[in-house]
Assembly symmetry: C2
Homo-oligomer: 329 residues x 2
């Protein structure tokens, strides 16, 4: 069967609310710089009231990844839950306008559309405060098994492993994808996700996942070591391909005993690092579906990541296809 | 009585929905490049569905002006109507976080919060498609006469002269301001406003307005001439101070028979010209309240305008105060 989509991603459907701030503001509010944390509705309100004027741009980790893939010519689908409200319509508009199939029905009761309050410091570092809202109401019933079976790659966001209903949906999707011989890709998302679900994530990598993305901190946290070499030795014991991002130090791809080290793409400027990892994964998988070599997949990932950190917002703004063509042919 | 606010502005409370596009898209949708037009709810929906991924940033002409004034250290108030919905909360958050007093109650029934679909072409030119929504429900009842009486300048947006209820509110505000010896400032806003309300606008300038802002096209339209010299001769017959903006050609200030010509501030880059006129007016009036000379007021206006066209969105992002200090002391 020909794949209907190159990738079907399951993730959080969030609108980013982005403002610039100072390290002092973070300190005053007891927020660790560079971290991501989940906040309840009341804290989302009080932090929003305290923060500066903002811009709203659609986000969500896996959603950013597939928006990047669409910009590179792939055919992606996205599954995630928004509410039937203005921010939900903003999310749905933006992801569809980016060229991604998005058909998950919005919820008509319960929580409002999730949002991520992103505080960007002058060094470009982002601190994320996520109110999940409707995201956590995604359930197995929202999955179209035929769509999962018909997608070349199933891509899962580690952030969404926390709420039980979406986790069950992801487990079901994994079973469907594997039954149809599809690839399963997974992103570790964040150190706090890894620490909360270490056993689950280790088991996923050992038994269910063909391709895993994580940064060096997440991979080290997964195996409770401070040594990236030790963590790489552990992750390499699994059959899956592991892609480890290292910010300005580029990326490492581990595959069947081989190790490819790829330099980062120099960024024109670093304004807001939000989405760097998401766009890396998007570039990597888009290149995979075009049959590029693993080192070239990582190079495409690095180019996509360099574009997204040069402006506010975690979705591509430049013509990614033209950028890749100019650099890699 | 000491002024409670340096300026009290009455205008449209809009959230801008900004996307990049091509001249071909505008042509295909029969939209004149560089124009501003009002669109009904259904067209707002269909145009939004057709346009690309967007970012939402609070806008509204007079609202942008007072946000710029607050960034320059003035104490402004804003009067305008949003609905009690997510975009209304975004507007209220952003203008308050910018340092502007905003207390107009949101409407709990009727239209949703107004928005402006802004299509930016690669030359930085913006084409605006405005759904006024709740904006038009502003009425005399929303005016706090004490606040109007206590503000140094009453600033009115020509765009809002069209719907009858806000027009009545503006007329009442003018009467209150004049009764208390306050200055009344007015922006012509757009050629289509001037053409729709030429007699009203001429009468306002002749009898009720101390300071008027307009670009060369609006001023020419006001007196139905193609000659800027002729239009300037007409406008100079009124007692009020007239400030005419000319994009890259800078600005001209006409006052009591004198004419000051001010060069534009070179912009670092021109990404999105939305808000250039709004921020010019904001810089001008902020400088006035600091007692600067009229030519220096226009210089501050040019610097504020140059900042806002260097990025997407019509609210300042850089530290305007520091910019002005570096350039004018």
């Amino acid at each position: 069967m020909t794949a209907r989509h190159h990738v079907l991603a399951i993730g959080n459907a969030l609108v980013d609310v982005i403002t610039t701030t100072t390290p002092e503001f973070l300190g005053d509010h007891g927020i660790a710089k560079g971290s991501m944390r989940l906040i309840p509705s009341e804290e989302a309100e009080s932090l929003y009231a305290a923060m500066g004027p903002a811009r709203e741009i659609s986000g969500g980790s896996a959603a950013n990844t597939v928006a990047g893939m669409a910009a590179l010519g792939a055919r992606p689908a996205f599954v995630g839950r928004v509410a039937d409200d203005q921010l939900g319509r903003v999310f749905a508009h933006d992801i569809r306008a980016a060229g991604v199939d998005f058909t998950t029905a919005p919820s008509t009761e319960g929580n409002s559309t999730g949002r991520c309050l992103i505080l960007v410091t002058p060094d470009g570092d982002r601190t994320m405060n996520t109110y999940l809202g409707a995201c956590q109401e995604l359930s197995e019933a929202d999955l179209d098994a035929d769509a999962v079976a018909g997608a070349e790659i199933l891509y899962l966001e580690g952030y969404l492993w926390d709420p039980p209903a979406p986790r069950a949906a992801m487990k079901k999707a994994i079973a469907v994808a594997r039954a149809h011989g599809r690839k399963v890709a997974f992103t570790l998302s964040d150190v706090f996700c890894v620490e909360g679900y270490r056993a689950d994530f280790q088991e996923l990598l050992a038994s269910h996942v063909d391709l895993v993305f994580g940064n060096e901190h997440e991979v080290c946290a997964l195996y409770q070591t401070k040594s990236l070499d030790e963590a790489m030795a552990e992750i390499a014991r699994h059959a899956c391909t592991a892609v480890i991002t290292r910010s300005a130090a580029g990326a490492i791809v581990l595959e069947g005993g081989r190790r490819h080290v790829i330099a980062a793409e120099p960024a024109a400027r670093v304004l807001d690092t939000t989405g760097a990892g998401d766009l890396f994964a998007g570039g990597f998988m888009a290149a995979m579906t075009q049959g590029r070599s693993l080192p070239d997949c990582a190079r495409v990932g690095c180019i996509a990541a360099a574009e997204v950190i040069s402006h506010y917002g975690a979705r591509p703004e430049a013509d990614l296809k033209a950028l890749i063509k100019a650099k890699l042919g």
